[in-house]
Symmetry: C2
Subunit: 271 residues, 2 copies
């Protein structure tokens, strides 16, 4: 029996002293020649990245599509099991962005929490709360609601209308429904929005993608995004860590990239 997700996260912040989350989005085309571009290779690649970066992270975030595109659900399960067994204090966030009507959402929750044993999962709010509730009912698991994303076209829907935008309604609904296991996804490419939401939600943790390859401003995110106790951030970097090198030194390069990021993401008391 694993502790509740939020307890795992608090513990992992303390142990790592870092907001870094390493995203496991393996791209076999970028594997070095020494790693096979097959199921065995993907699992080996991910577990070696996990070993190299585990000291620097508060969470790992495997990305579903990167396994599913090539039929590697078993590999995804093996990677999650490996993290649970080898580093039981590090929570695993399954990035699957599920969103469907209630009876189907129950099956997606079963997939994430029972089949894969993920500690948390990302979900999409387009279908409203009854599409998220079946996940949130797993009180010991984290449910991370897409709110304001890091991609260029996200604003088209999320910042509409200007006066009282969708992302703000999503954030407020999530806060209203929260009984201690909900989080928001807020892209690092819009740090001022992270600050705006933080003012309304002083303690909710945020999952922040987009600081690496997508170019978000890390210092601004740290400055504006920390919670009232100085924690509250899970800042994801994927490609910039796991594919820091495409050569035989990818493990050392990932370790180095994670170490540098973790140093920049140290958890310090808030000003």
């Amino acid at each position: 029996m694993r502790p509740a997700f939020i307890e795992q996260l608090k513990n992992a912040w303390t142990q790592s002293n870092s907001f870094l989350c390493v995203g496991l989005d393996p791209t076999p085309d970028r594997f070095p020649r020494s790693v096979a571009r097959d199921a065995t290779g993907v699992v080996r690649f991910c577990t070696e990245i996990v070993d190299a970066t585990q000291a620097y992270v508060c969470a790992f975030k495997p990305q579903f599509a990167h396994f599913a595109a090539i039929g590697l659900e078993d590999g995804l399960a093996k990677v999650i099991d490996y993290i649970h067994e080898t580093y039981p204090h590090i929570p695993v966030i399954l990035d699957a962005k599920r969103g469907d009507v209630g009876s189907t959402a129950e099956r997606y929750a079963e997939e994430a929490f029972v089949r894969y044993g993920a500690d948390a999962v990302t979900v999409n709010p387009y279908l409203g709360w009854d599409s998220i509730a079946p996940f949130a009912e797993y009180a010991d698991r984290g449910v991370i609601v897409l709110c304001h994303t890091s991609n260029p076209d996200g604003v088209w829907l999320q910042e509409y209308p200007v006066d009282d935008p969708v992302y703000l309604r999503v954030a407020r609904l999530t806060a209203e429904k929260d009984t201690g296991n909900l989080m928001l996804v807020l892209g690092a490419t819009f740090p001022e929005l992270i600050g705006r939401i933080r003012q309304e939600m002083p303690s909710m943790p945020f999952l922040v993608p987009g600081v690496g390859a997508q170019g978000g401003d890390l210092d601004a995110v740290l400055d504006l995004g920390r919670s009232n106790d100085g924690t509250g951030l899970v800042i994801n970097a994927s490609r910039s860590v796991i594919h820091a090198s495409d050569d035989g030194d990818f493990v050392a390069a990932a370790e180095s990239a994670a170490r540098v990021l973790a140093t920049r993401m140290e958890i310090v008391a808030k000003n």
Copy 2:
């Protein structure tokens, strides 16, 4: 090489003379005792439903979560392959409601179209167009954008704000981007909205869930939703067909339920 999705759909409308799409959302708990509640049973259940209902449908729509929750991706692939091989004129819509940033959306498109060989896939617009474009680039495959869904809480986001709601913007963006392979999801529980969108988009096909267990008004959908040539609808029924009986007569019951629905959904010239 299969024809383009929209050509398949037109051909299937002609062959079946019906708007019925049978949703394959197998629930092993409801299988009769004669069907094993395992991988083999799920595939057998689905292929027997396909055989029993194929004469009455313009499409089949396997629902991803119902396979993924219990680790049956191989079963899902087998069911899709079976339909392609046995009834090559019937398009297969993979209902997966994917939505993610561009580089990840590429992997989801690969999953749906390459791995599973689906003819079309459902996608979620919350992340904006750059999350849908990687699917739409497969010009011969259908991309079906969630617009207005059939569940009670969908309106919370989709009908916001009242003046110029999100669902209408999604519909208009989809029409603007369409080069012949896009569709919208419009729930049967809101037929007047289907009529509103139809007035603006006289020829785009709509995928309409929610007429069975969810209680949508079929006659109003038919009246308000048909396109300018009298087609334009793919009306899904899942549980009301595939679980029409939970006993040993489930195949006959599904055949009967599909036949009755197809008769009610006959394609006739528009008034």
